[in-house]
Symmetry: C2
Subunit: 208 residues, 2 copies
DNA sequence: AGCAGCCTACCACGAATTGGCGATGAGTTT
DNA sequence: AAACTCATCGCCAATTCGTGGTAGGCTGCT
């Protein structure tokens, strides 16, 4: 298993290097203090996992992971940082990072994270997992229980996709009037009274 | 640290019980094979963590976690199952579970998961973490780079909230016509031509 | 047989939205 | 100075939407 490190803090980089080289199943294939010529380096070294500091000189870690995933999508990237900055965490993950560990993570967990990421899994330190989870949960249901029939869900989905009544009617082979009625019923169940609100609520509450 | 188990498979329940009682920092405060009188039991036992099988008789695990989080939101729940059923995983997590482990998880990881969950963190087995992450990543940008002006973003946000042109005009103290033009420009930039599509695209690409 | 819920379909009217066309002024870049 | 972007305001015709009704057919439950 080949690992590449991108980390500007020398002490930290060295301790990571030590951790990798003393690990029997891993091989350190590169270690750098900036992201210059990032893609070329990775292309040449062919690491299984890239460890990327989030605040690294050159392109920062978020840009870096985006680039890696754009040009070399098979490379798995594990981010690391000292800060629990929500925005950066989400940005990294959205841009394709497979893992996220804080720098106070004990060595054996770091190795574990690397192994999980190498196998295509994901690893978050618990606090990061919690943040991801919160983001996940908050999208859902404000306590209302909305029960739509299958037909209604089908039509709501098309509505959310931006189709007009007429297009929906075409799509499901029903009369325009029927669609009209269904949508009125949907609005009532969602407690909304415009297309915009309906779409918003449908997406936020993952009704589609 | 007090743990309660809800698990219908006897063998599995017993091995969990063994795992807990032989663990120095944990105490088994209850172990059940169904979810009957769930809330009363939990209220009486006051566990720190509930281990909940997802396919348990009575109310299933998803309903159970929802109830727990509704009546006793401070209780942290860790789900477990043999299957990697995406829908159930997401449903559990959305309903408030803090952890999700598969039943083939080695004992020491189970204990680790319980500890993380007890401390308010989250724990997923890597494959589940991957699923959560995928759901996270897919929400974002299809590769297009959409550059909206501040005004446009502001108006798009209100549009997404379900407001009509007139209401938006009121909201930002502009003329109806101005809103109209902005929205037309927004549509052009988003390559859409209806309110529905615009809202959809705006939400999917997190432009707001 | 009666009731309830769902899917279907229709009428009608006022309000909202779209799409096309044009215009001005402020500020920035070239 | 010309070109450009951004924000602002305007008109108009065609379409779509929101809301109020009505109503038959179907299924499932009592």
């Amino acid at each position: 298993m080949k690992i590449a490190i991108f980390e500007d803090n020398q002490k930290f980089r060295e301790s990571l290097e030590f951790l990798i080289v003393t690990s029997s199943d891993m091989e350190l294939c590169g270690s750098f203090e900036d992201t210059n010529r990032l893609i070329q380096k990775i292309e040449a070294l062919e690491p299984d996992v890239v460890l990327m500091d989030i605040n690294i000189p050159g392109k920062n870690g978020i840009e870096a992971v985006r680039e890696i995933k754009m040009y070399l999508p098979k490379i798995n990237v594990c981010m690391q940082t000292v800060f629990e900055d929500d925005d950066k965490i989400f940005a990294s993950l959205c841009n394709g990072a497979s893992g996220y560990i804080l720098k106070n993570t004990p060595p054996e967990k770091v190795l574990q994270a690397i192994r999980e990421v190498a196998e295509g899994g994901s690893f978050f330190t618990p606090s990061v997992a919690k943040k991801v989870l919160n983001n996940f949960q908050q999208q859902v249901n404000d306590g209302e229980f909305i029960q739509l029939t299958d037909r209604e869900k089908e039509i709501l989905k098309l509505l959310v996709d931006g189709l007009s009544y007429k297009m929906i009617a075409d799509n499901v082979n029903l009369s325009f009037h029927t669609i009209h009625t269904h949508i009125r019923n949907i609005y009532e169940k969602l407690h909304v009274n415009s297309k915009g609100e309906a779409i918003n609520k449908a997406m936020k509450n993952k009704l589609v």
